[in-house]
Subunit: 520 residues, 2 copies
């Protein structure tokens, strides 16, 4: 069933199907080329007459809520990943579905994590038909092995909002686990023992799902303030003992790198930004939670301090480093999409300048603009880059699907996108003739920084001009690739079958590439 006959070549030269899981698909047509013509998904008109006048929507447990919400075969069930590897709710949903004998569900998480490996048995027994959403770790491996009944579909955070908003994915039941909520369904992530900062990844779900269930372990009297999720969109609320394991909510990727190579890459990146004129009063940047990105943030902070200037905003994934910058007055605002440590959570609770954002404000490509294009520089990762600057973030060179897209595709729209990456990992070159999976088209990727040199995309003649007298080792991407191959040899291609196991959506809902089964 996963042998696709009707593949077409898309605008980055990849062969992609025109139908997936029974639904028509549009192949990637180039950045900004596909212009949607329809109308947004229109949820049903509700009536207060059908809801309790005292605002108390509490049901005894999640099972009852799922039954009341009409759980049945073939439905789409959504969850968010703000608890990351500490989530305790997603597994319970499918335990209940299994217990009720429900089949063929589509699980539509904003991302899945190793703690949800538990669900493999439900993918095997038909409770879950397929996952649409990032598949980190074991679930990704399962998908790569061709074991999932349906095709996986991966979207960026913005692409997920777009898909829900546009009705590409109609959510039947959204289950929103919340660190704090009231019985009406107002909910937030800043208070409670499982505080995760915010709930932005569940925003689309709350707005567009047919039925919305809020599950919390910290029920407060109305009104729950702030209401990051509006109770006016919620059908049922459920009180449980625990929604998340606090220590596992914290992301493990928020330590500054100690690797000398990575520190060098970080330093070179910061210097590049400075020489390119990006680091100036009022500038803005987005840096992920990886060790290298964090180090770059520290270099930026030092430059700001030295010169007595200030950044306007940091787009984050926040943790203690940007929080410290905010509290030292080095930046006016953190525009935060997910907090990565408890300092981020505390800051969002306490600092008026630490702002709760969502994929709607920051990333949705089918809005009247979004924030990603206003960021001066985005510093992102990649598993592979090719000589046309196309990059991969979801598969490794061995072909295994092990990561989600996150906000990566969306951030490519910044004024300058830089990928600081090692030239090789485990003696496998990172720069290739062709990446295993294209997640982002080269035209949006401006600079590759490696420990052995920096390549500027030839399209960015402005940057090339600015750096022409730089002491930095500016090279062509071909030179970097050759250098890696001189050291490590030409990398073997992944051993892949023809069988398609997942598709990668671009930010506009078109298919930019597919993931193929790994021959084991």
């Amino acid at each position: 069933m996963k042998k696709y006959d009707n593949l077409v070549k898309n605008a980055v030269g990849r062969m992609v199907p025109t139908e997936i899981n029974g639904e028509k698909q549009v192949p990637f047509q180039g950045v900004g080329k596909f212009i949607p013509t329809g109308r947004k998904h229109a949820p049903r008109i509700e009536s207060c007459a059908n809801f309790p006048t005292d605002g108390n929507k509490l049901l005894p447990n999640l099972k009852e809520a799922l039954i009341k919400a009409g759980l049945k075969d073939g439905m789409t069930i959504s969850t968010h990943h703000h608890f990351r590897n500490g989530d305790l709710i997603a597994n319970q949903i499918f335990d209940i579905a299994h217990e009720l004998g429900i089949k063929n569900l589509r699980w539509f998480p904003s991302a899945s994590f190793p703690c949800q490996e538990h669900l493999i048995k439900y993918l095997e027994d038909g409770t879950i038909h397929h996952i649409e959403g990032s598949m980190n770790g074991a679930l990704g491996r399962f998908c790569s092995q061709g074991k999932m009944a349906g095709l996986g579909i991966l979207r960026s955070h913005g692409g997920r909002y777009q898909a829900v908003q546009d009705g590409d994915v109609k959510i039947d039941i959204a289950v929103i686990a919340a660190p704090t909520a009231d019985a009406f369904g107002n909910a937030n992530g800043v208070e409670g023992s499982a505080a995760c900062g915010l709930l932005g990844f569940a925003l689309a779900d709350s707005q567009y799902a047919d039925k919305v269930i809020v599950v919390t372990d910290n029920l407060v009297p109305f009104p729950c303030i702030p209401w990051q999720i509006h109770g006016n969109l919620v059908d049922y609320t459920v009180l449980v003992d625990q929604v998340g394991i606090p220590e596992k909510i914290i992301s493990g990727t928020t330590r500054i790198t100690k690797s000398p190579d990575r520190l060098l890459i970080a330093e070179m990146t910061a210097q590049f930004c400075d020489e390119a004129g990006i680091v100036k009063d009022g500038f803005s940047y987005q840096a992920g939670a990886g060790g290298t990105a964090l180090s770059i943030g520290i270099y930026f902070a030092n430059i700001l301090k030295e010169r007595g200037i200030k950044a306007r905003f940091i787009r984050a994934g926040s943790n203690k480093y940007p929080v410290q910058m905010l509290e030292e007055g080095l930046v006016d605002y953190i525009l935060d999409g997910q907090t990565f440590d408890l300092e981020g959570v505390r800051s969002m609770r306490e600092n008026p300048g630490h702002i709760n954002t969502s994929p709607f404000t920051s990333y949705n490509y089918h809005g009247k603009g979004n924030f990603s294009t206003m960021v001066d520089v985005a510093i992102l990762g990649a598993t592979e880059v090719d000589i046309n600057f196309n990059a991969n973030v979801v598969t490794h060179s061995d072909g295994y699907l092990l990561h989600g897209i996150g906000g990566w595709q969306n951030c490519l729209f910044s004024k300058c996108t830089i990928l600081p990456i090692p030239l090789f990992r485990d003696r496998i070159p990172v720069i290739k003739d062709e990446v295993t999976t294209i997640c982002g088209p080269g035209e949006l990727i401006d600079v590759i920084v490696t420990e052995r040199g920096i390549a500027i995309n030839p399209r960015r003649t402005d940057l090339i001009e600015k750096l022409k007298n730089s002491s930095l080792p500016i090279k062509t991407i071909k030179e970097l690739k050759d250098e890696a191959e001189r050291i490590c040899g030409k990398p073997a291609k992944a051993n892949l079958s023809d069988e398609i196991v997942a598709a990668i959506k671009w930010v506009d809902g078109t298919i930019i590439d597919v993931v193929r089964k790994v021959n084991e």
Copy 2:
């Protein structure tokens, strides 16, 4: 054209048309009886590809923005009334429309004010076909005189949100005047020289209008924080010299009454609430900005202070009195829909417990519940009440349409709705056999407090029981009416024509009553 042949009797016995301005209407069917079946209005899917990547949506002036937004004959143009009588933008919109020779516009303000009397000439010359929204003062009189080409339609704040959400009113162009905004369109009401606190009345407009224009006189660098209006929903931004006159933004109705009769009414109302067991730790109330209501708030504050207890929230229209209670720790939260003075604005800017609400959160009847039902007691005004507890807020006894509905209909859903009103005004009894216009059905109105006695709705046997040993002068509403008539005589009926000039919508979009032309 305003002689309607096809009138039907609705659930409160009023004859109402089944079609208005060419659109089908549903007669009022009773509280909670009309259950909608459709889907919400679905705005067009947009694409970032059509918006400037630097986020700068500024156009040189409002005229250019209206032209770019496609202003043409017959369109619906919306504005908000957060500037109240200090608004400077609505008049300009129609000056421009007139200059461009545009005709037959529907003006859809959240309310109109005397400062917009200027627009009568455009109602006369056909630039504006009719107004849908509250018509305070001269515009209401104009409508009452049968001079408006189309039928006026009045909605509550919640009903306006409902109408936009449900697609009953499709807004072509929303013009959102904002005290502060960035060039992307993020906007708020808490900063800037025309600060009005919040912009909640424009929320529906921003979410559902085809084109959204933000006009500001205080342009700040991205990001404008807080973003009470999301730039992601905005098409164009315009910088003008002044959006509002600060001293006229302040509502004139926020002074505590000095009338001995009204103070007596206030005291009796507070005592009633106390004896009914409403005033207790964690209780909540909504009190408008009128002098009597404010005085009641002060009585409540004194009770809380004396007993060392605390209210959970005040639903407001805020001004210095609830703000003082918040800052003295007598209440946890102010859930505020519009600030009525500069103290309200300051508090919303400074106090984390002073919360920005909207007709969506507080009042929309076509949501999954709203806040109005969770309020322990709502203290509201009325121009007339009848012996069945039906009440009128839009017309006077002489038949003139001089007021809007505001949030009044929505607030009737509180757990206890009290109308503290004088027994007569200018020697005209306020309690009648029949009110001129039914704005709220008697079944939702629980208590009438006058200076000469208190009437409890016979439906509220619980309240009657609680007050049975009270020292308060509990009477029947008939007794109150008779007493007024003994003093003032039986009031004359308003001298009205058969001609219908406006319709009053219930919170669910059905027609609860009509307003008829006054014979002059």
